[in-house]
């Protein structure tokens, strides 16, 4: 297609770049917490550090290599294709939600699958990042270890303040709430980011959570704990807002976010604090399209009445 009209400077490349920049602080913190500190304390050898760096190189190069192969298949200019590909964003998210200690082979297969599915997935609106992470956790069974070596050797008590700044057990790069909130503020500066989703999901999470604690008269009122020490915030800020798998109509976004907040609370409480939100996002991604279609039908009907 020939360029006839002016286009906004905020194009796909810009959106991808924004997402990558927002993820970098979390990646660095993940390295600091799970590799650097543990190495400093002499709990891991330099071979393990090298292995971790190799792992990061894999996370960056695999999407680029797959993009190059795919651009050849599609007969497109490589640079154009890479500029418009979300592969690196998906790859980084996939890395950040992995447990700090994982089986490298399974991790690598998962990464490849994430990349391949992101290319071939056309009609099925299913959040494959959540799907693959959950499959890996099932495959690893008890081998998915969330505490890093330092956390598993000592009995550490983290208060809410510690947890807010990332000192808590969790996935590789999802624990630092402070950095996630900064990234959220950064992403919210742009129009493309669906900022309403994390905000409404959080409100819904609290409303539903507080109601739950009041109704069940649960003695351990731990709503802030549920909010901060799980990967809820990371998942709603980065995964639930991936534009392919989230609604675009206003009402659709509200419905989706309310369901996301409420169901996440249930999932965190009764299924798993690490995978609960991912299960909810996976299920909701399937109903995103029907939600948008229904909202459009309703609004069209209302407008034609007016």
């Amino acid at each position: 297609m020939n360029k006839i009209h002016e286009h906004s400077k905020i194009d796909n490349k810009y959106i991808i770049l924004f997402n990558i920049i927002a993820l970098i602080p979390l990646l660095l913190y993940g390295f600091y917490k799970n590799i650097y500190i543990v190495y400093k304390r002499g709990l891991i050898s330099s071979t393990v550090v090298t292995k971790s760096i190799f792992c990061l190189i894999i996370v960056i190069t695999v999407p680029i290599v797959i993009d190059i192969i795919y651009s050849k298949i599609k007969k497109e200019k490589i640079i154009n294709y890479i500029n418009n590909s979300y592969s690196l964003v998906y790859s980084l998210i996939y890395y950040l939600i992995m447990p700090p200690r994982f089986n490298f082979i399974i991790f690598f297969i998962g990464l490849l699958l994430t990349q391949i599915i992101s290319k071939i997935q056309i009609k099925f609106n299913i959040n494959f990042i959540c799907l693959i992470k959950l499959l890996i956790i099932i495959l690893l069974s008890k081998n998915a270890i969330y505490p890093n070596i330092y956390e598993s050797t000592k009995d550490i008590y983290y208060n809410l303040f510690d947890s807010f700044f990332g000192r808590t057990i969790g996935s590789f790069g999802t624990t630092n709430i402070f950095l996630i909130l900064l990234s959220y503020a950064f992403l919210s500066l742009t129009n493309h980011y669906k900022k309403e989703i994390p905000l409404i999901a959080t409100i819904s999470f609290f409303v539903f959570g507080i109601s739950y604690y009041i109704i069940t008269k649960d003695s351990g009122f731990k709503i802030f704990n549920d909010f901060i020490t799980t990967n809820f915030i990371f998942c709603v800020v980065f995964i639930s807002t991936i534009s392919f798998y989230s609604p675009y109509t206003n009402l659709g976004k509200y419905i989706y976010s309310i369901l996301l907040g409420a169901l996440s609370f249930i999932a965190l409480k009764f299924i798993s604090i690490y995978e609960g939100v991912l299960i909810v996002i996976l299920i909701l991604s399937i109903i995103v399209k029907p939600i948008d279609d229904a909202v459009l039908k309703i609004t069209n009907r209302q407008r034609s009445k007016n």
């Binding site: 297609m1 020939n2 360029k3 006839i4 009209h5 002016e6 286009h7 906004s8 400077k9 905020i10 194009d11 796909n12 810009y14 959106i15 497109e76 154009n80 418009n84 979300y86 056309i122 129009n191 493309h192 669906k194 534009s243 392919f244 798998y245 989230s246 609604p247 675009y248 109509t249 206003n250 459009l296 069209n300 407008r303």
Partner: protein
């Protein structure tokens, strides 16, 4: 949302001097099918002579003097004799303010005066009888076009005079001159002269796109009563046309056109004769720095691509000519970001468009990060 703020105002720097191309070799007056033409080949034509009229009394006046050299499909071709001979000389109207609103409307119809959208001004005045406000847009609809700026620069006193007369004819309580806050040079010029016109006020609005009549009302009137009031919104070009046709008693024969694009050595505003071929203007007024170019007209954001530039003739509705370097852009799969839906001023879904609500502003296509050509008429992604 409904509008975007254009921040890259200086993307197309336009030459500060106005170029004139008022001596075309030929002009091409449109004709209507089934309309009997009384003119013959080689017949001498005077400037401002009525050439053609259709059943709806839309008149076409010759913008040059010369002789008919041929009858092409849909056009009468007139060769210029470069003498600018005028048939019947009319004296300017002495007291314009003594006209009654109906006289004004009739005169506008008689001279076939049209606005920049090819709508008869007489029709617009008829629709807005007894307006409470007159709002004058001192900017172009397209954010990168600067015809209005040059019209103001060259005719500011005529424009204010006409507006003052219109206030008296239509008994309007207030006229608002609407300026974009980016046009600081025009604002200064207006403010230095406005003191003598107590009923004319200026208002500034940000550099927003699009700005149709409804969105203008939304932006300038805070109270609902004012928004709903009968406001006559006119462009600065229409005011100039009223001055020429009513005060000077002459038909409109020339027009300002912006020629811009990344294939040009210099972007400029050119004053041209109506019914000149665009290709003739291009070859005489601008230098192309690219060989492989694409032409479009009437909007850098929502314009139409022109396959054969030789077929385009300057009419009232030609505002700009865009000449771009031929560049391919990949049309990718929709990423479901919803920006087009969020921003649409017609409150429609550009991905499965309701044609009745679409205002053809092209803003959906402008914001689309994957360059999908929106709106998608009748289809879904």
């Amino acid at each position: 949302m409904g509008q975007i703020k254009i921040t890259d105002n200086n993307k197309y720097l336009i030459s500060p001097t106005l170029e004139e191309y008022l001596n075309p070799e030929y002009i091409y007056i449109p004709t209507y099918q089934n309309n009997q033409i009384s003119l013959k080949k080689n017949e001498i034509i005077k400037k401002e002579q009525i050439i053609e009229g259709n059943n709806n009394n839309i008149l076409y006046f010759s913008s040059i003097s010369g002789n008919i050299v041929g009858f092409e499909t849909n056009y009468i071709k007139i060769a210029n004799n470069y003498k600018e001979e005028i048939g019947i000389k009319k004296t300017p109207l002495k007291d314009m303010s003594s006209l009654k609103p109906n006289d004004l409307i009739n005169m506008l119809f008689k001279l076939g005066v049209k606005n920049e959208n090819n709508e008869l001004l007489g029709e617009i005045f008829k629709e807005h009888k007894n307006p409470k406000y007159i709002v004058i847009k001192c900017f172009d609809d397209d954010p990168y076009t600067e015809n209005a700026k040059f019209i103001i620069k060259n005719h500011i006193e005529d424009l204010l005079f006409t507006l003052d007369e219109l206030i008296k004819i239509l008994e309007v309580s207030e006229a608002i001159i609407l300026l974009k806050s980016k046009d600081s040079d025009i604002i200064t010029k207006y403010n230095s002269i406005l003191g003598t016109y107590p009923k004319i006020k200026t208002k500034l609005i940000p550099n927003l796109y699009p700005l149709n009549d409804e969105l203008i009302k939304e932006n300038i009137f805070r109270i609902k009563e004012h928004k709903d009031a009968n406001s006559l919104i006119l462009s600065i070009e229409s005011i100039l046309s009223i001055f020429t046709s009513i005060k000077k008693q002459k038909p409109i024969t020339d027009k300002y056109v912006t020629i811009i694009g990344n294939a040009l050595e210099e972007n400029k505003v050119v004053k041209v004769k109506l019914y000149t071929k665009v290709s003739e203007i291009i070859s005489n007024c601008v230098k192309l720095k690219e060989k492989d170019v694409i032409y479009s007209i009437n909007g850098t954001i929502n314009g139409k691509e022109v396959k054969n530039i030789d077929e385009v003739i300057i009419d009232f509705n030609i505002k700009n000519i865009i000449i771009r370097k031929k560049e391919r852009i990949e049309n990718r799969k929709c990423i479901n970001c919803g920006l087009c839906y969020k921003i649409c001023p017609g409150h429609t879904n550009p991905k499965s468009i309701n044609t009745q609500k679409c205002i053809n502003c092209g803003i959906c296509s402008y914001v689309c990060p994957v360059n999908i050509k929106l709106p998608l008429k009748g289809g879904k992604l």
